[in-house]
Symmetry: C2
Subunit: 319 residues, 2 copies
Amino acid sequence: MTVNLTEKFKDNIVCKGLGITYPIIQGGMIWVSGSKLAATCSESGILGTIGAGSMTPEVLKEHILKAQKLTSKPIAVNIPLLYSRCQEQIEICLEHGVKTIITSAGSPKKFTTLIKNAGPKVLHVTSNPLLAKKCEDAGVDMVIAEGFEAGGHNGRDELTTMVLIPQVRKAVSIPVIAAGGIGSGQSIMAALCLGADGVQIGSLFAAAVESSAHDQFKKKITEAGYDSTRLMLKNLVPVRLLENNFSKKVALLEQNGASEAELKELLGKGRSKLGMFDGNMEEGELEIGQIACSIDRVSRVSEIVGTLLSELGSSLMRL
Amino acid sequence: MTVNLTEKFKDNIVCKGLGITYPIIQGGMIWVSGSKLAATCSESGILGTIGAGSMTPEVLKEHILKAQKLTSKPIAVNIPLLYSRCQEQIEICLEHGVKTIITSAGSPKKFTTLIKNAGPKVLHVTSNPLLAKKCEDAGVDMVIAEGFEAGGHNGRDELTTMVLIPQVRKAVSIPVIAAGGIGSGQSIMAALCLGADGVQIGSLFAAAVESSAHDQFKKKITEAGYDSTRLMLKNLVPVRLLENNFSKKVALLEQNGASEAELKELLGKGRSKLGMFDGNMEEGELEIGQIACSIDRVSRVSEIVGTLLSELGSSLMRL
């Protein structure tokens, strides 16, 4: 006996709302999730997401058009609201028929009405139940609740997925998507138990064959141990990084009580591109989640999604 | 239709190994979990634990004898190995027929053989998969894997329960008990999905009627919000604290890159007793987990366990 997951999730509120088969979103990640990763993920029945945070509006447009050539299934675009040209990015999504826009790192009040009036669904990323409620009040369709263990930019709240999801579930009536620390069908099942309606997975897809991360970065992800990442730069914008020369310099500065200016000077410009896209493993900024320790090889999206679904099916059977 | 949990957990490896009905351990906590809390928990079908960390060997003996008068069911004793008189504490447990000894904050090699040769089961607390494997190699019967979100003393690894449990599950063949961030039947279910055989719950029982925490501390736990705790004193012994004047002073020192000596001077002696037992809410050290934000009232153990089981039953039914 096996579980028919397509049937199981037929009426799932995230699947129905976003037009996907399984309630899994591939997280939008800077330098890593372009048209190829997003389109391949969408083709596999989950929601592929283009990470616009590292793209000019012109480059984003190219990626949307390419992705739409690769798949007729819906794709999403993740837009961090801290970038100066985010409004242009939103306009490009609206012009090109993107059905789901995921906003983060800013107020959900700023663009939600504009986007919704044009048609697309709006999802907003939150790291605490208070902001989740503000998202709901602003008209956001679903919230992505992201725990402390997640990679890349993170909230200041340090709430872990285990504690965050039930809190957000209690705070809002809209669908809740769990993010942070999810890397197996078992952990998708755990997130659903905690009250989530779906999940967002980043790190696993950063290391996929179809990701645009540099091969050296993908290799380094597969080599990560349980103690290879840390949430750093808490006094600037908290970000979870893989350990390397750069992260050690940050740690040293932070331990000595460095000022914001000193940290900004060390950070400089283009650190994340240098690491994740150009492949400088020692001086670049390498954003990844704690769950990297569970990733031991670079696989195709089809294989990653297949494994997740098969584990999820077994979990359901076992219970 | 309801789920018969007694039947469901009849063959559970933690239940069978520890002689309990439900695979739930009440965490041993300094100043909070004496004979009354432990005995009441054991009477309710879970494993009650006396927290020896705040007791002299003489006081521990009194608590064991009292607990044994209150219940004929097994009770455990938690012994942090960083205390100078921990060997005497272990000997008292052995002399008085304690069936389960939980060791923490030290090497599992130190006392495991001694304890096991005398009869009791040994459980050791770990915050990473590497130490978990060392526990297994040292002959420990079960590991308690405790995530970053847990209250009180914590590992340096910062692995959250969501990431830690699957890692520990993969690392060892002995039973794994999940701790950190667990405060509902839904989260017990989530921990089981992640690969745990049982759970340890602390914060919920710290706020119980039967806990020996000061009433002011219990009240403060019920008032905690999502951002009320922080993992602090990482350069001494990492500990998750509830925010108050004392924790703010620690935060200020840490932000300014204070030395170990400066932190030790601020900490002084008896901070945890002052807060948790004597009820000084501003200058005492108040140890509690992130999950405190989900606790909104002081309840009896019977009610807490009843709610956990009823939520767990509903979770099982829903899946």
